[in-house]
């Protein structure tokens, strides 16, 4: 793994270890390698990452910049431009630069595409093409291209660009010139403008983090934490400051077992078809037996009619008894096997029916999650009362909260199994998936039923159910989470 620093002829672009030296400090301080390996084997969602502050990330980036600048004998400012244009991959920069420095500088827009002819300036006065003022030549400056502008115009140019949020992409003022202004050049022209300098540095930092594949800003509101991981995988990360969880790869809500592209496709589809699916948002349905109107006010989909005590499933309105068995098929969509021979109109109707089946379940579990959050709040109040009146301590009742949190985690995964199933090709793999999904769903509803009646349920019984549900969830993820 160690790269010999002195022997450049042996440089290998594929060897990425070199530039990770900085990171190792951040990773190795509390986890031994053996422990990590173990975790990733038993927990399909295990992911190694760190929550860093802006200062820590700044230090991290500066170390990378400094080591590159020492390695290639270039200024830190130039090193930053090169790193930024190569997704902060030091080794790639080093390889390219050693192979062809000119081409590397052109590609990074430091040098113009065609070498600039050195212009021989004969007079001591020049007219600035931007402000059309004639000034002494020493008032002029240029980037690595031939385009001379007066210093005041450069300053104004930078002020205007920074005010619009542009920083690493500020270029020369000439027509069709792509040469970029590196950090030291910009800062030199903003010497006495503290607030603009700060803004500029804030924006460049933001650009650097965004171009760095191993760094992600926490999407939580007003949170400045940056999550850092060496592996770029679609796994869950949770900010240790604001508790926001998201997918490290795409930055959106975590979506296992569905992958980033599929969930994007699904969410776009849902947004496009929102009107068609609107009728689903009903909160009331009629009891299939006595037809009294039942309102859903908990997350559990195992309903019991308040009037006739009939147990039924909120999703399919089927008898709940059939749901507990091996034949639990509420989650599966049964496709019409002869659909290929039907008319285009019938196929379109079938497609909509299929979509609605998955959408309905996706939406329903999302709602259940919210309702179960309310259940948890109510539970908190009730337990508070119990503790106040001397019925045990908070520690005694802790297991109930653990159960509620586990329920939320399981239902969350269950929700995201629906887009996964929707886009799956029919076949034995889909059958296996839907079998496991049905099993998971059944255990989650059992758990939900027990959590809603937590205080009267036997603790051992509840903990047993928790264990079963979580095992089902992990099994499904182990078999289908493909990252």
């Amino acid at each position: 793994m160690a790269t010999s620093q002195g022997n450049d002829s042996d440089m290998d672009c594929s060897d990425n270890e070199d530039c990770y030296d900085d990171y190792n400090d951040y990773y190795n301080d509390d986890n031994s390698d053996g422990e990590q390996l173990d975790m990733s084997k038993t927990d399909p969602e295990y992911f190694d990452y760190k929550c860093l502050s802006e200062e820590e990330v700044e230090r991290l980036l500066n170390e990378t910049v400094e080591s590159l600048s020492n390695r290639l004998f270039i200024s830190p400012s130039l090193a930053k431009v090169l790193l930024h244009s190569h997704e902060w991959n030091s080794n790639e920069v080093i390889c390219k630069y050693k192979e062809n420095p000119q081409q590397t500088l052109i590609a990074a827009k430091i040098d113009p595409p065609t070498p600039s002819k050195s212009i021989i300036v004969t007079s001591t006065y020049l007219s600035c093409p931007v402000c059309i003022t004639t000034l002494n030549i020493d008032k002029f400056i240029k980037l690595n291209c031939t385009h001379m502008f007066c210093k005041d115009c450069w300053t104004t140019h930078f002020e205007v660009q920074i005010a619009q949020g542009i920083s690493t992409a500020i270029s020369c003022m000439a027509k069709d010139c792509v040469v970029l202004a590196p950090e030291d050049f910009v800062l030199k022209h903003l010497q006495h403008k503290t607030s603009i300098r700060e803004k500029y540095q804030h924006f460049t930092f933001r650009d650097y983090v965004k171009s760095h594949p191993e760094l992600r800003f926490c999407p939580g509101p007003n949170c400045s934490v940056i999550i850092c991981s060496r592996e770029i995988k679609a796994k869950r990360v949770v900010c240790d400051k604001c508790n926001t969880g998201f997918c490290f790869k795409c930055g959106c809500d975590y979506h296992a077992p569905t992958d980033c592209q599929v969930i994007k496709k699904w969410l776009t589809k849902c947004a496009d078809d929102s009107e068609t699916a609107n009728y689903i948002s009903a909160h009331t349905k009629d009891c299939p037996k006595c037809h009294i109107c039942i309102e859903k006010n908990g997350g559990c989909n195992h309903m019991q009619c308040s009037n006739c005590k009939h147990d039924f499933c909120w999703m399919c309105l089927g008898d709940w008894k059939s749901h507990g068995s091996e034949y639990y098929e509420c989650s599966r969509y049964r496709e019409n096997p002869n659909i290929a021979h039907e008319s285009a109109h019938a196929q379109a109707r079938e497609a909509l029916k299929k979509y609605l089946h998955y959408y309905e379940r996706w939406e329903n579990h999302s709602k259940s999650l919210k309702l179960e959050e309310q259940t948890l709040e109510k539970l908190r109040t009730r337990i508070n009362k119990k503790v106040m009146s001397g019925l045990g301590t908070w520690i005694d009742w802790q297991y109930l909260f653990t159960a509620a949190n586990l329920l939320a985690k399981c239902r969350y995964t269950l929700q995201y199994t629906y887009p996964f199933a929707y886009y799956m090709d029919t076949g034995p793999r889909k059958e296996l998936f839907e079998y496991q999904q049905a099993q998971l769903e059944a255990e989650i509803e059992n758990l939900s039923w027990k959590v809603e009646r937590a205080e009267t349920t036997d603790r051992g019984d509840l903990e047993n159910q928790m264990d079963i549900a979580e095992k089902r969830r992990t099994t499904l993820l182990k078999d289908f989470l493909d990252v």
């Binding site: 931007v130 385009h147 027509k175 010139c177």
Partner: protein
């Protein structure tokens, strides 16, 4: 800053007036007020395009931060073009947005707009309806653009068939421009245009 803007516009105005394009009547520039914050541009439709023979008026507003920011330009003459809104005259052109450079001038802008009339970029549309027609039915697009040039920009190519269809809609109580937009949007299919107007 505002001082630079005025100085520059003064200079650029002279530059355009003296330019060979003005001599050839391809572009024109006029001042609207005395403080150089608003101008009126004019470009001739390029030869061998649907816009040939037409003259297109432009509203040019000079921001205080000019030339560090681009001028704000809009077509005042109605035009049928994928990169120009048929409703507002707003333009989608890179040099009027992020590709602007402080060393560019109003002359550059006018010539670039003229070039845009010769070479549309339907993949970066301002007007989705026009862009779709351009990509799916180029002949229909040319016919429509020529008709608009005739009606709004003084172009020479009269199309009696278009005029006749518009007249039919006017007889049904539709306002003329509204009728033209509906027919243009539906490839001059009178039935579909009527349906859309009365739905």
């Amino acid at each position: 800053m505002a001082n630079i803007a005025a100085q520059r516009i003064k200079r650029e105005f002279k530059e355009v007036i003296k330019s060979e394009e003005v001599a050839k009547c391809a572009i024109k520039l006029e001042l609207v007020d005395d403080n150089y914050t608003e101008l009126r541009g004019e470009i001739a439709g390029p030869p061998d395009t649907a816009y040939e023979g037409g003259n297109f008026l432009l509203e040019i507003k000079v921001p205080e931060t000019y030339p560090f920011n681009p001028p704000k330009v809009r077509f005042m003459t109605r035009i049928w073009h994928p990169n120009i809104s048929s409703v507002t005259g707003a333009i989608c052109l890179d040099i009027l947005k992020d590709q602007w450079a402080a060393a560019m001038t109003l002359r550059t802008v006018l010539l670039s707009l003229q070039a845009l009339l010769s070479a549309a970029e339907p993949d970066d549309p301002q007007d989705a309806v026009v862009a779709r027609q351009y990509k799916e039915n180029l002949e229909m697009f040319k016919l429509t653009a020529r008709h608009w040039t005739n009606v709004y920009a003084g172009g020479p190519n009269v199309n009696p068939e278009c005029d006749e269809k518009i007249k039919r809609l006017i007889d049904m109580g539709i306002e003329e421009h509204q009728a033209r937009v509906a027919l243009s949007s539906y490839n001059w299919d009178l039935e579909r245009a009527t349906e859309q107007l009365f739905s």
